[in-house]
Structure formats: structure tokens, C-alpha cells
Subunit: 348 residues, 2 copies
């Protein structure tokens, strides 16, 4: 589907491990005051003064988390950074640095890795973070990307999953289900392409949902917005595995229950129309699709006036006593227990 | 060669991603004052007060960095931590935390991962570090381990690769080449085993070099020793890729030259005898073998009295002006330019 217009192919063998990481990161700029020393020694050195340090890590594996037949490498590099920054923002923190390690088979030429690192560099520049380390090695099969993201926060500002209280409002940023439906469209086009490699798909009608799949953003803006509104969530998590499993995480760790209102779940019109086209229930997609990288959080009802009119935020439920359980309140006003589905990658 | 005595096999499919990391780390204790919050939220939270933070990361890939036909999983877990802590110590820093991510194919049962994590836990307890995060996912083939290690240091105590000066002494801890020769013995036994699976190898004569390959240690003790001796190296690096490439790193980054004395390179008697048996030159092994995880550093000549009699340290050369180049001075007193060989994994 995605034609490789870059005909130059430099074998990785020609560079060796020592040359590769230097080559790929030589133009990367350092943006953060807290970065004392980046790539080039045994380790990076950081200085956060009196702030606390946030650390999170994620692996992306070819064939499990991404398919290079429709995921351009530049987008993949961008997305690998985003999914980690999203976890830093979910702590209400500022993202500051990342390390990026890759294992890659010899089927990839140097130019492919340059594309990957171009996406990493773009994300680093847009989010103002520094790439401070990494490792490159060969793999027997495919591409694997391991990112560790680091952030900083004033000790009093941290938000854990465990702070939700009964009667708190449940709030989500943006809209849900788009990345999952974008994936469905891309998978369908891949099948079409297998049958007819000359097909020229018109994906205009799916532009939003495809972008949500291929080039997601992390909600740095929401952390800024909450600060500007003077709202500190009582709990927060990012929506990576689907709304249902994230609600369950908050409820279990906060020891509370929850009523989630089906008619309040924010859906983009393209998600609704594509769900109709694929004959999939849009609520199921929002609950179990995942990869939204929106922020799900709870706030005290006292904060309702501050957030009620904000177009970036949707109030989708209420926290309850733990014994009342976790339920979806449907449009027909029935209550269905919510169970985690998530991405059980070991079932693949 | 290594028989799996654990006959129980629990499929990873039965657990799912959410259950696995919790299951594997549920008994891990937190040792470090700087760990505010470990595994269990979107990210870990650390507090280093006014100290600087050290971050380093390494990938270990099955078939590239290890061979499970002779590497027990518990040893592998241990080694994956050690190779990262070694980089922290090479900054003259204290190691404090690690994150551990694994990608694993369904051929591994849960019990195999429990063995892997038992080795990780052992290393964490021996070195007093906390496992604060990680990711587990499936892979299409084999096992991959990505570790990020974090450490702390007073700003004035950092040692970079770039601080060596002409006339400084070049010093290495322990001895070199043992891990590489251990690998040669293990590879030979693997070939024997292929021909005769009932062979019972007597590896007693190779116990030291095999242990150096399968269960290396990181030289935390040397960092303590240098502190006790009141010696601050002018530059430092750990010996992971072989002495020659590490010397070149120090020389290039410090803009100095070096004379390395062949007759001063510390070799264990088992390395010498095994080199004779395999008809390999022991100096070549020390220069290019790698995986020693010793510390290579330079000190001012003023510090000579403090280190000269220490059995853990060998003075192996002198730093020179950059224009004089980097040479091995042989036992026959000839000078041979040193070139990096290292592990060019992309040539595999």
C-alpha cells in the first residue's frame, strides 16, 4: 500500500553497532534544562532539582503492535514516543526525556531506520523532550522498539490511579474508538491490496480515524488545561487498552464503584459512520478498542463548574461505593457490569 | 545441556498481559529511599532530592546476545540487570532502580518467565536496587529483554569518558577475556551435545570462565573502593565490548592517545590455559572478547600511591598526547595500533 519511494539501500552491516546510534541521533537537539548529558557516554545524566522523577516504559513489537504494510516507519517512530509520553501525562507530570532502543533484522536498510528516527525526532521536537540514550542491535526477525520515558513533577501535583472517591465525576478528554476503527479500515484495505495491488483506495472519508491510528497524539494540552483551570484530578490514567479496562484499573486501585453512561461516551461522527459500515457497535469499540491515548480522570464534584463547558472534556459517569460495582448504564437505562477486555496480546 | 526439571507448564495465554507483570513482580521488595511509587500505575515516581539522575538502557536479544541452550533463564535475568548496572557504575554513580520489559513468544510457559524474574529479583536484592516498572508482550519469535537502569550521583562526583589527560594512568579492575573464553567452551559443549545428547561434560576446569559468561557481576565494589581510597578517576567506561574499543572510546572522547602494555593485561590462569587449548591468542581475547563488565578508568599520576598495591586493580597503560595515537606495546616491545573490533552485531 505504501510505496517506498526511497530507493537507496545502505546495509546495516556496513555501519556496525557503534556507528549506528551516533548516525541516527547526530542532529537531535537537547531542549530540556534537566538534561545534563545526553547520548555519548555509558549513561545519561539528568538533574531535576527538587522535583520528583517519573519513569515509564513500553515495548512495540512488529506483528503484534504494528504492521509495516500500512504503518510508515516515520509514523511508527512518532507513535512509539507518543504512547510513552501519554503515560507520563497520566501522572499529571511534564515529559522531559526518552531513551529509545531498537532491535532490527537485516531486512531493514539504514534508510528505513533514518525514517523511524525522523519520526522520533519530530515527536521529540513537538513535545519538547530530549532523546538521551538508547541501544541498537540486530534481531532475528522483525522490528522491536523499546522506549522509556522520563518526566518531572512537583511532589504535591502527582495524580495516581488510586485517589478516586465515591461521587467524583468521571471525565475523559477527546473522543474514543477512533484509533480502533482506523485500524479496521487499514486492515480491510490491506486485504483489498493483496487481491488487487493496483487499487487506489480513497480513504478521505476515514482521514480522522486513520490519523488517530497512525499518528496519535498524547494529551499534553489537557495537563496544561487542568493546570490553567486549577483542577487537580483525584485519579487519572491514560486510555491505551480501552475505556473499560481503564475504568476497572481506577475502580480497583481506588476501591470504588462506577456508573458509566453510554450516551455520554464521546464519539467522532467518523467513528459512528464507520461502525455502521462495519456493523460494529460503537459503544463496544469505545469500551474495548484501545489506543486512544486520551486521559481518563476523576474530579471532585466541587470542580464541576470549572470543567462543565469545556469542549475538550466529557463527563461520562460517576464514581460510587465499591460494593455497588462497575456498570455501564445503557441508552435503554439498563445496567450492565463492565468487564475488562483490553489487548491480551498473548492470545494473538 | 541444561535439563528443564520444572515439568509444570502454564500457558501465557491463560494469564493475559494484565495479569502477567503483576504475577511476576508481586513479591519484589522496594529497597531504595528514592522510590516513591513502583509498579502499579501509569509510571513510577522517584525522588532524588538534589542528586543527579543517571539513565542507561540495553537490549538483550535471543540468538544475538544469548543462547538458551546453555544459558539458564535465571542466569539470564540476573545478567540482564548486571549489564545495565555496569553502565551506571561506569559513571561513578550508585544504581537505584531498573525497569524490565520482555517480549516473549508463546513457546515459553509461565514457569520459564518465573525463572527469568527470579534471576532479576536476585540481582535486585544483591545490588539493592528496585524494579519499578516494565512491560510484557508477545513476540513472534524468541525472547527479548529491555532493561533501563537508573542511578544517582552527587553532581561533583560524575565521571565521563571525556576527562582523561596525557600522562594519566590507565587502570582496569579484575581480569579480562574470561567471559569470552567461557562462551567458547559453552559453544563447544553445545556442538558435542548435538552429536551425543547423553554426554556428561566435566566443566570443572572451566568453572571460573563459565561463571563469568553466565553470571557476571557489575563492579559496585570498585566504585566503593575508589571512594574509600579517595580516588576520583579522570575518565571511566565499563568493558562490555572488549578492551580495545573501550580504550578507543576514552581516547576519542578525551582527545588523547594511549600506550597499552600487553604484559600488564590481567588474565586469569583459566583464561590462559583455555586460550592455549583453543589455540587463541589471549591478548586478542582480552582486547576484543567483551562482556567482562570490568571498569576501565584513568587516574592522575598523583593517585598512583593510593592504587598501586590494590589486588583488584591493574595499571595497564599510560595516556599520551592525541597525536601519538593509540597503541599496544607488545611483550616484544613493538608498537601496534589498536583498532576497535567490538561486537558488530549487524554482521551476524
Amino acid at each position: 500500500m505504501i510505496e517506498d519511494k526511497n530507493q537507496q539501500r545502505t546495509q546495516l552491516n556496513d555501519l556496525g553497532e557503534f556507528g549506528l546510534i551516533e548516525h541516527l541521533t547526530k542532529n537531535f537537539k537537547l531542549n530540556q534544562k534537566s538534561t545534563v548529558k545526553g547520548i555519548g557516554d555509558d549513561a545519561a545524566v539528568l538533574n531535576f532539582d527538587n522535583k520528583q522523577v517519573i519513569v515509564t516504559t513500553d515495548l512495540l513489537v512488529e506483528g503484534v503492535h504494528f504492521d509495516l504494510s500500512y504503518m510508515p516507519l516515520k509514523h511508527l517512530g512518532y507513535k512509539a514516543i507518543i504512547v510513552n509520553l501519554s503515560d507520563v501525562f497520566a501522572m499529571n507530570a511534564k515529559a522531559t526525556q526518552v531513551t529509545v532502543s531498537i532491535a532490527v533484522s537485516n531486512r531493514f536498510p539504514l534508510e528505513a531506520l533514518e525514517d523511524l528516527y525522523a519520526g522520533i525526532e519530530t515527536a521529540a521536537n513537538i513535545y519538547g523532550i530530549d532523546v538521551i540514550g538508547g541501544d541498537t542491535t540486530s534481531s532475528n526477525k522483525g522490528l522491536l522498539i523499546s522506549v522509556t520515558a522520563i518526566g518531572e513533577i512537583e511532589p504535591k501535583n502527582e495524580v495516581y490511579r488510586s485517589g478516586a472517591k465515591p461521587n467524583d465525576l468521571l471525565v475523559v478528554s477527546g473522543d474514543l474508538g477512533a484509533a480502533y476503527m482506523g485500524l479496521q479500515v487499514l486492515e480491510r484495505e490491506k486485504e483489498v491490496y493483496k487481491v488487487n495491488p493496483n487499487s487506489q483506495p480513497d480513504l478521505e472519508a476515514y482521514s480522522y480515524i486513520i490519523e488517530r491510528q497512525l499518528k496519535p497524539e498524547a494529551r499534553k494540552d489537557i495537563i496544561k488545561l487542568l493546570e490553567d483551570l486549577d483542577v487537580k484530578p483525584t485519579s487519572m490514567i491514560d486510555v491505551s487498552d480501552g475505556l473499560s479496562s481503564e475504568i476497572i484499573h481506577i475502580c480497583k486501585q481506588s476501591k470504588v464503584g462506577c456508573d458509566l453512561y453510554e450516551n455520554k461516551i464521546p464519539l467522532d461522527p467518523q467513528v459512528i459512520s464507520t461502525c455502521e459500515e462495519f456493523n460494529i457497535d460503537s459503544t463496544t469499540v469505545a469500551l474495548n478498542g484501545g489506543e486512544d491515548y486520551e486521559l481518563l480522570f476523576t474530579v471532585s464534584q466541587d470542580d464541576f463548574p470549572k470543567i462543565k463547558a469545556n469542549p475538550n472534556l466529557s463527563i461520562i459517569g460517576f464514581m460510587k461505593e465499591e460494593k455497588e460495582g462497575i456498570h455501564l448504564v445503557t441508552r435503554a437505562d439498563t445496567r450492565i457490569p463492565i468487564k475488562a477486555q483490553g489487548w491480551k496480546n498473548f492470545n494473538d
